[in-house]
């Protein structure tokens, strides 16, 4: 650093205005520090709307479940019903036997 640089560096700058500190920390107290992440963040921008939609889905699900037959009863009903192919096969088998034994159909 030469003499000229030293001369420049000795010049003292103004201080920040005193009221700036008070204003700054007055305002800083009103700064809202963002909270930690919450589930509500996922539902931005309308948590109520998303909540209502979720409640509707639950409602529809409940109604749909109560109207439908139980799984066990459905299975036993189905088991009792003859399959269409089985009926058709039985008819053809009987006709063939009748034909062989020469019974009238």
């Amino acid at each position: 650093m030469n003499d000229f640089e030293r001369k420049l560096s000795q010049q003292v700058f103004r201080q920040p205005p005193a009221e700036l500190r008070a204003a700054l920390f007055g305002e800083a107290e009103n700064v809202i520090v963002p909270p930690n992440w919450t589930w509500r963040d996922w539902f931005w921008p309308s948590p109520s709307a998303w909540g209502a939609l979720a409640a509707l889905w639950v409602g529809f699900g409940a109604v749909s479940f109560s109207d439908s037959p139980s799984a066990a009863s459905s299975a036993s009903d189905l088991a009792r019903q003859p399959l269409p192919t089985t009926t058709l096969l039985s008819y053809h088998t009987a006709r063939d036997f009748n034909h062989v034994l020469d019974f009238p159909n």
């Binding site: 001369k7 700058f13 800083a28």
Partner: protein, 168 residues
């Protein structure tokens, strides 16, 4: 654990304000940016955790914030240069009339420098930072910092030499 912001302000705000005043050449801008820097730190105190060179960190933040503020206002560097022509009081008042006239001349001479040269000159002369530190603070290569300083100082010397020689 982030440091106490009031203590941080007392320790560094004068240096930041001086830098911002010299860089932006407008007191209102210097105040606004200083305020923004500290409000940002209030909202995000975690940014200060682990910072080793606090002054350099804050100067870097202030420089970026000053540039962002001008970009937001679509004024950019041209406006900083225009503002440089406006009268501003950079230095503390002194009793010695010779010193006062030198400070007035220095204020005008600094206005003749481009903003980025002024930033480098300020950090070198008034913060005694090395070119490597200036480079990091301003996001420029160290060679660029050194050349900006050299050009800036040469210009200041050319503008102030008559008065400087007279006052010696």
């Amino acid at each position: 654990m982030p440091p106490d912001l009031r203590q941080l302000y007392d320790d560094h705000a004068p240096a930041l304000f001086a830098f911002l005043l010299n860089f932006t050449r407008r007191e209102a801008d210097a105040r606004d940016v200083l305020q923004e820097v500290f409000l940002k730190l209030t909202a995000q105190p975690g940014r200060l955790v682990g910072v080793l060179e606090m002054r350099a960190f804050l100067l870097r933040l202030a420089h970026r914030q000053a540039i962002d503020a001008h970009r937001r206002r679509r004024t950019h560097d041209a406006a900083i240069e225009r503002a440089a022509a406006e009268p501003v009081i950079l230095f503390a008042p002194g009793a010695d009339p010779d010193e006062a006239s030198f400070r007035a001349a220095l204020t005008e001479a600094l206005a003749e420098l481009p903003a980025e040269q002024r930033a480098v000159v300020h950090l070198k002369l008034w913060e005694q930072m090395t070119f490597a530190e200036i480079a990091e603070a301003l996001d420029i290569p160290a060679n660029t910092a050194a050349s900006r300083y050299r050009y800036g100082l040469d210009k200041l010397q050319a503008l102030l030499r008559p008065l400087y020689e007279e006052l010696r």
